[in-house]
C-alpha cells in the first residue's frame, strides 16, 4: 500500500471514494498513475457492518449539518437530512442496493427527445449510448453485474414473487430480478448472496460490489494508490495561473493539512461536490471554483421517486432476501400519451420495521397508521424511480450563516418537484397500486420520497462552457487540471439507478486523464 508525501505535487488527488472516486482511483493506479484518495469518513469492511437499521444509520451515514428548502416533503419531515448517503470509504456504494442499469439511448439526448419542457433546464449530454457502450461493458465486468457477462440473475424472494405475479397480471413483459452487482455465484474472490436482506446497511457477506472493499483494494495492490480515510477536504487551492495545486483537509481530530496535487478530481456526491467548489472561492474565482457559468450547484436532481406498499391477507416477509432484486422496465420508455415525458422503473424494495415506522408516512400517528404497521409481515413493497426534470433553481447553495465543525459554510439543498415529476409519480402510484390489487392486496399505501439517495446534476456536463461546469470528460471548463468524477456531472438523470453510469464515466475519465498526463497536456 502506497503512502505519499503531502508535498508530492505529482499526484492525482481524488476527493471522495464512492462509485466515482473509488473506481477512478483504482483505474488510475492500474495505469501506473500515483493517486491519493481523500475520504471524509472512516474505513469499514463487511465484518463491521451491522444488520440494524438505526445502528447502521449512525455508523455510516453522512450526518453533517445541512439545511433544506423548497416544496418537497423531505424538507418538512426531515429538514436536516436532504439525502441518505454514506460517509465512509466506499461512499454510497456501501449503502446502495446494487441495481446496475444502462441508460437508454434516447435518455442521453433528453433535450432533443423531450423538446422544450417549460420550467426545465434540459440539455443533451455531449456523449451518447454508442460512446458509452464499451465503458458500460467494462463497468459490468468489474462489478459482476447479473444478467451480463454470462452471470445468472439472482433468485427472486417473496417480495419479488408478489411483484412478478402482479406484473404478469398487468400484462407487463419486461420484469426479472434485475441487473444487480451482487454475486449470484462466487466471482472475483467474493462469495454468493446469502439473502441476508440488509443491503442498505452494508453487505455483510461482501457479495454486493462496493468500491470500498472491491475497487480500492485492487488499486492499493498496485502500490500506486493511497486511500486516506477520515480526511475531509475543506478547500481546493490554485496557483496564480488559475491551475489547482492542492487541497486543504481536516483529519479526524480536526487538524488541518495541505496535500499538494498535479490534478484534483472532485467526487464527493452531488451536495458536497458543488459545496466544495463554492467554498473554494478566491480573489481569482469570486463565485467559486469552476463557476464562470454560474451553473455550480444548479440543476440538482434526485430522481422522481416514491414507494408503494401493499398489505395482503397472508404473510410475505418482504424483508427476507436481497432488497432490490426485482424490476419492471415496461414503464421506463418515453411515451407521452401517459401525460409526461421520460419514464420510470419499478423495483422491489423492503424496509425493516424500524425504518418502515419512520418512512411509511412520516409524521402520521393514530390507529390508521398503527393498523398499517400491524400489516408489516403481510406487506409487499416497491420503489418508483424515474427521470426528473432538471430545474435551474433546484440547487445547492452555501448557507449564509451556519458553519460546520471546521468553520466552513454548510450546504442548503433547495428542491421543488416539476409538474412532469408529479404527473409521473401519480402514474406510477396508479400502476403499482393496480399491480398489487391484481394479486389481492387489501390495502395500499402511497409512501412519499425518502431523503435522496440519487443525488445528481449539480456540476453538469455540457457541450458548451456557458451551459454547464464540465466537458464530456468531466474536466471543468474553467480549470483544466480540475475534474468532477461523480454523479454531479450528470447532464440529466435518466430513469435508471445512477451507479453503473457513474462507474462507467469514471473508467472513461481515467483513460482520458492518463493520456492527458502522458502527453503533458495537464
Amino acid at each position: 500500500m502506497a503512502k505519499f508525501s503531502k508535498n508530492d505535487d505529482s499526484l492525482v488527488v481524488i476527493i471522495g471514494s464512492g462509485a466515482g472516486g473509488g473506481v477512478l482511483g483504482m483505474e488510475l493506479a492500474m495505469k501506473g498513475v500515483k493517486t491519493v484518495i481523500l475520504e471524509a469518513g472512516g474505513r469499514h469492511g463487511p465484518q463491521d457492518f451491522v444488520n440494524d437499521e438505526w445502528g447502521s444509520f449512525g455508523q455510516i451515514s453522512w450526518l453533517d449539518k445541512r439545511t433544506t428548502s423548497g416544496d418537497w416533503r423531505v424538507s418538512r419531515d426531515f429538514s436536516g437530512l436532504p439525502s441518505w448517503i454514506v460517509k465512509a470509504v466506499g461512499g454510497s456504494t456501501i449503502h446502495w442496493a446494487g441495481a446496475s442499469l444502462r441508460f437508454q439511448d434516447h435518455e442521453w439526448k433528453a433535450r432533443t427527445t423531450y423538446g422544450d419542457v417549460k420550467g426545465a433546464s434540459l440539455l443533451d449530454w455531449p456523449i451518447d449510448g454508442k460512446e458509452m457502450a464499451p465503458w458500460y461493458a467494462r463497468a459490468e465486468d468489474h462489478m459482476g453485474t447479473t444478467g451480463t457477462n454470462g452471470i445468472p440473475r439472482l433468485p427472486g424472494n417473496n417480495n419479488y414473487k408478489v411483484f412478478a405475479a402482479g406484473a404478469k397480471k398487468m400484462g407487463y413483459k419486461q420484469f426479472h430480478t434485475g441487473n444487480m452487482s451482487i454475486n449470484s455465484q462466487p466471482r472475483d474472490g467474493r462469495g454468493a448472496c446469502q439473502q441476508i436482506g440488509f443491503c442498505f446497511q452494508g453487505c455483510k457477506s461482501g457479495a454486493k460490489w462496493s468500491s470500498g472493499y472491491v475497487s480500492i483494494p485492487k488499486g492499493e495492490a498496485t502500490g500506486k494508490l493511497e486511500c486516506r480515510s477520515n480526511s475531509q477536504v475543506l478547500k481546493i487551492e490554485h496557483d496564480k495561473n488559475g491551475k489547482v495545486n492542492g487541497v486543504v483537509y481536516a483529519d479526524k481530530d480536526g487538524k488541518v493539512h495541505k496535500q499538494k496535487a498535479r490534478i484534483v478530481c472532485v467526487a464527493g456526491n452531488s451536495i458536497e461536490s458543488p459545496r466544495l467548489l463554492l467554498n473554494s472561492e478566491s480573489s481569482m474565482f469570486k463565485n467559486g471554483l469552476a463557476n464562470s457559468s454560474g451553473q455550480v450547484g444548479r440543476n440538482y436532481m434526485r430522481h422522481m421517486t416514491a414507494s408503494t406498499y401493499a398489505i395482503f391477507e397472508k404473510p410475505v416477509y418482504m424483508y427476507r432476501g436481497t432488497t432490490m432484486a426485482g424490476i419492471i422496465q415496461d414503464e421506463s420508455i418515453n411515451d407521452t400519451r401517459r401525460g409526461f415525458v421520460g419514464g420510470y422503473e419499478l423495483e422491489t424494495l423492503a424496509l425493516g420495521l424500524p425504518f418502515m415506522a419512520a418512512f411509511l408516512d412520516p409524521g402520521q400517528w393514530g390507529r390508521e397508521f398503527a393498523a398499517s404497521m400491524e400489516g408489516y409481515d403481510r406487506m409487499a413493497g416497491l420503489w418508483i424511480v424515474g427521470e426528473d426534470m432538471p430545474q435551474s433553481n433546484n440547487r445547492v447553495t452555501l448557507h449564509k450563516k451556519i458553519k460546520d465543525q471546521h468553520g466552513m459554510p454548510i450546504p442548503n439543498v433547495n428542491f421543488s418537484d416539476h409538474e412532469n415529476d408529479i404527473k409521473m409519480r401519480n402514474h406510477a402510484w396508479k400502476q403499482s397500486i393496480a399491480l398489487y390489487e391484481s394479486v389481492g392486496a387489501n390495502k395500499t399505501i402511497k409512501t412519499p420520497p425518502y431523503p435522496s439517495t440519487h443525488n445528481l446534476g449539480t456540476n453538469r456536463m455540457s457541450a458548451k462552457a456557458s451551459d454547464g461546469v464540465v466537458n464530456k470528460y468531466g474536466q471543468t471548463w474553467d480549470v483544466k487540471n480540475l475534474f468532477v468524477s461523480d454523479g454531479s456531472q450528470f447532464t440529466t438523470g435518466a430513469a435508471e439507478n445512477p451507479t453503473l453510469t457513474i462507474v462507467a464515466l469514471a473508467m472513461r475519465q481515467a483513460e482520458y486523464i492518463a493520456k492527458q498526463m502522458s502527453s503533458k497536456a495537464i
Binding site: 427472486g156 419479488y160 408478489v162 446469502q194 441476508i196 427476507r320 432476501g321 419512520a358 400517528w365 394479486v439
Partner: protein, 178 residues
Amino acid sequence: MRVLNKKAISRRSFLKTGTVTALGLTIMGPMVIGKNNAWAATFKTLGADDAATLIQMARDCYPHDFLADKYYAKVIEGIEAQAGKDKAFKSMVSKELKKINSSAKKHYKVNYKDINRELERTDILKKNSKSPLFKKVQGDLVVGLYNNQEVWPKFGYEGESASKGGYMNRGFNDIDWL
C-alpha cells in the same frame, strides 16, 4: 412457508395497592404499574401522574392492542431521564401537559388520561398536535417503540439475519399462497 409465531410474552408481577386510572394504570407514589401487574416503572422527576398521562398519550399515538403498556412506558422513561437533566425541558413538559389537560377538561370534563374513549382522546391530541410535547412524544416513539427488539416478533419482523446465514435456507422465497 416459514410462518412466525407472533405471540409469546414474558410477564413480571407487582403487588398493586395504589389508585387505578380509568385505563387500568395503577399510580403508587412515583411508581406507575401496568395492567395485570405486568410491569412497573418509577418517575421521580415527572411524577407518576404526569408519567401515566404520557404513557397513555404514547399508546394513543401508536395504538397496538397486542403491545403491553411497558413498551410505551419505556419511551416515556427516556423523557423522564431527559427531564432529570434539563430543567427547561422539564418545565416544558409540565406546562404542555397542563394545556393538554385543560383542553381535555374543556371538551370532555376530565383530565386527558381519564377520558375513556380513544376517539375522544385522539381528538384532544389532534387539537394539540402542534404542541412541542406532543411532537417530542411522537418523534421519540416512532423510533423508540419500533426500534425495541422485544416488539419485533409481534410484528413478524426477524431483525438481524447475517449470523443465521441470511434467509438462503430460511424462507426467502417460500411464499406459497400466490
